[in-house]
Amino acid sequence: MELAAANEDERPVLPWDQFSQWLHCVCVVTFDLELGQAMEFMYPTHIELSDVEKANICYLAFPDSNSGCMGDTQYWFRIRRNSLYRTNNKDTDYQCTKDCPVTLLKDETHYYGYVYFRQVRDKTLKRGYFQKSVVLLSSLPYFNFFKEISDIIAPEYFDNGVPCLEAACHDIDKWPSPIPGQILNLPLMGMVLHVRIPTKQDKPGTNVLDNTDKSPDRTPFSLSSIHEVDLYQNLSDVLPHIHLLWELVLIGEPIVVMAPSPTACSSTVLALVSCINPLRYCSDYRPYFTIHDSEFKEYTTKTQAPPSVILGVTNPFFTKTFQHWPHIVRVREVGLGNYGGSKPTLTPSDSKLKKSSAIKTLDPKSGIYTKYKQFLKKDKNFIKAFTKSLVENKTSKTHSALLRRHFLELTQSFIIPLERYLASLMPLQKCISPLKAPPTLKPFRPNDFIQTVENNGPQLTSGTRGDWIGLYRRFMRSANFEHWLERRKVEMEMKLVSLHMTALSETDLMAWCQDKSEVEVVDMILRIRQKISLVKSHKIDVSNITVDQLSEQVTNITKTLPLDLQEILLCTSRK
């Protein structure tokens, strides 16, 4: 750790280094009478985007049908990144990712667009309308946080022009790095924002930035969650089907969300993606998707089965395009849940799933169109508790927290048996022998796992009944599973390497090299060096004591070698 700090001190912070930890750039997209949507400018000016990226940003920066979007509109989009992800500071990257929950990691293959669109009457303009968007582009999926940021920056820009953006970007360039677990004070346009990026050790549902925190320069602005959208508001139209939706998201089924506005479709997509927390949704998702998108053909082709993605759309044209899609979610405008005096409930009269043929008739009713048969039964206890909360007229925030906790418990009940089986694949401590290669994990065998579900399945922790095994089988074919397994395997293998290193550091290597030839001793030295370099590049976590002991061992066994060779090894270790 001291080493990392020392490195950082040596490395000067260059202009835009800090900025680029948070944002890629700010884009202003305007409506050009001849070109249509066009990039007016990007800031900072040295930032590069490919032509495809620019075109996508331009189309996604405006609502598809803007008749209903007078005034200011905010929403999110996500696009594929086709320029390379570059990082120039490994140590900071490590600090930012070490304790970060997987759902909040920097996305190296996509950009998130945080849009603030303004459309107002302006008689001085040729068209009679002012139409412009400010888009914050970032690799960080901090949905609420950047929504707030754009809410501060964009109106200022519309009122006062480019210097506002420059000033805001300079403020951001002064921000500390987005390191999870710390309370970050972020100055922006005359105010200071307090945020805390959660860590994976946090107990879910707790809010560390509560009101007991009294820092002296406290301003009214502090966000309770940098990323979690309001589940209740965004799912209120489909409340009777939340368990079905949870299953669809978990196993990566293709879902399209149709809504009247980009705000409604994008926040619903984000609500869906977040309902399998702490698992990361690993297929593609587009909170807002248009017919101009570079992936339009790829995702709407009828020659193949629909891809495993979640798309949010507003253009009525999509009703036809997505006729063949297995799961269609229709929602109304956000916040209209209580509309018309009828409160959303879990068991309304029209709670039945709609036949997928009904979608063809442009049926404007909200709900889910699917033939999917749920694996699990609804959790009656939860429905009872939730209905009570609704009846008691608690706030939307309370409903939302209840929903989130329920999903979390459900997902955790689902993962625990997988984790338990995975732990059984770890070799025993006694199999780690310092002078041999570290033992390897036993392979994950789906059928072996399924056998454990019988006795140690989710029924131990969840009240939900049903065909859990069927659900696991589907899940094990999904990208979500693949990613989960891959990540856990890497973590466990690193754990093995670190245990092996510790064992090696406690071995008497001087005795070992008594009867070894030069080439073997050199091999041992090279191997230990390679392990130490893995520690230094933060790939494995072992104590400093172990590293020191190993370095000492290397020094000692080097001394058993002929003098000329010692010198050579000394030279190479300095490089």
């Binding site: 390897t440 030069e518 000329d564």
Partner: protein
């Protein structure tokens, strides 16, 4: 994965020798990383590279010593050669001087290694055929006369790079199999510390002495 004590049963030591700038480090980099290193710094003294390969079903770890080509490092090279099972001798097909110096490199290799060390001659920069200064035939003849294996290769495109490292290993392994390379004798007189078990240069690590083998 095989559950050997290490993940390999032999270690072969290779050295790469030849004039400055012929592409020794680039060949090594191409072999270990499968990438061409466009601007590679001068090697100071020696750099190590390792990669595990498979020959006739045996996992073999190559411990490759990439030496500095500069004349001023020539004096400290004795320990580079000691116990080498393979020597890759490199020249640049676009610079005749690097080819002309081969006999001096070969003398070092012969004097400082044992008679069974496999020497492989490599004409590097095969991608620059237009600037060729040494014909294939000429070098081939030199190799034949001196009993060397020979190939032209390109560290830039990767052409033949795998082959030279693998062919060398095959030849060494073959020498072990037919008994012409005596594991005991391989280092006698060179080894600093007398060893008390067979397999010095070429280590057979698969000895069931360390208890549990998972």
């Amino acid at each position: 994965m095989a559950a050997g004590p290490y993940n390999y049963s032999y270690i072969f030591k290779y050295i790469i020798i030849g004039d400055m700038g012929v592409g020794k480090s680039c060949l090594l980099h191409q072999f270990t990383e499968k990438k061409f290193m466009a601007d590679c710094p001068h090697t100071i003294g020696v750099e190590f590279g390792t990669r595990i390969i498979e020959v006739s079903g045996q996992k073999i770890k190559l411990q490759i010593w990439d030496t500095a080509g500069q004349e001023r490092f020539r004096a400290v090279t004795r320990s580079y050669y000691r116990g080498a099972a393979g020597a890759l001798m490199v020249y640049d097909i676009t610079r005749r001087s690097t080819y002309n110096h081969l006999s001096s490199w070969l003398t070092d290799a012969r004097n400082l290694t044992n008679p069974n060390t496999v020497i492989f001659l490599i004409g590097n920069k095969g991608d620059l055929d237009g600037q060729r200064d040494v014909t294939y035939e000429e070098a081939k003849q030199f190799a034949d006369e001196n009993g060397l294996l020979f190939l032209e290769a390109s560290a830039k495109t990767g052409d033949n790079v795998e082959d030279v490292f693998l062919e060398t290993a095959k030849k060494i392994y073959q020498n072990i199999q037919d008994g012409s390379l005596d594991l005991n004798a391989a280092e006698s007189g060179v080894q600093h510390k007398p060893a008390n078990r067979p397999g010095q240069t070429l280590q057979n690590d698969q000895q069931p002495k360390e208890g549990c083998s998972c």
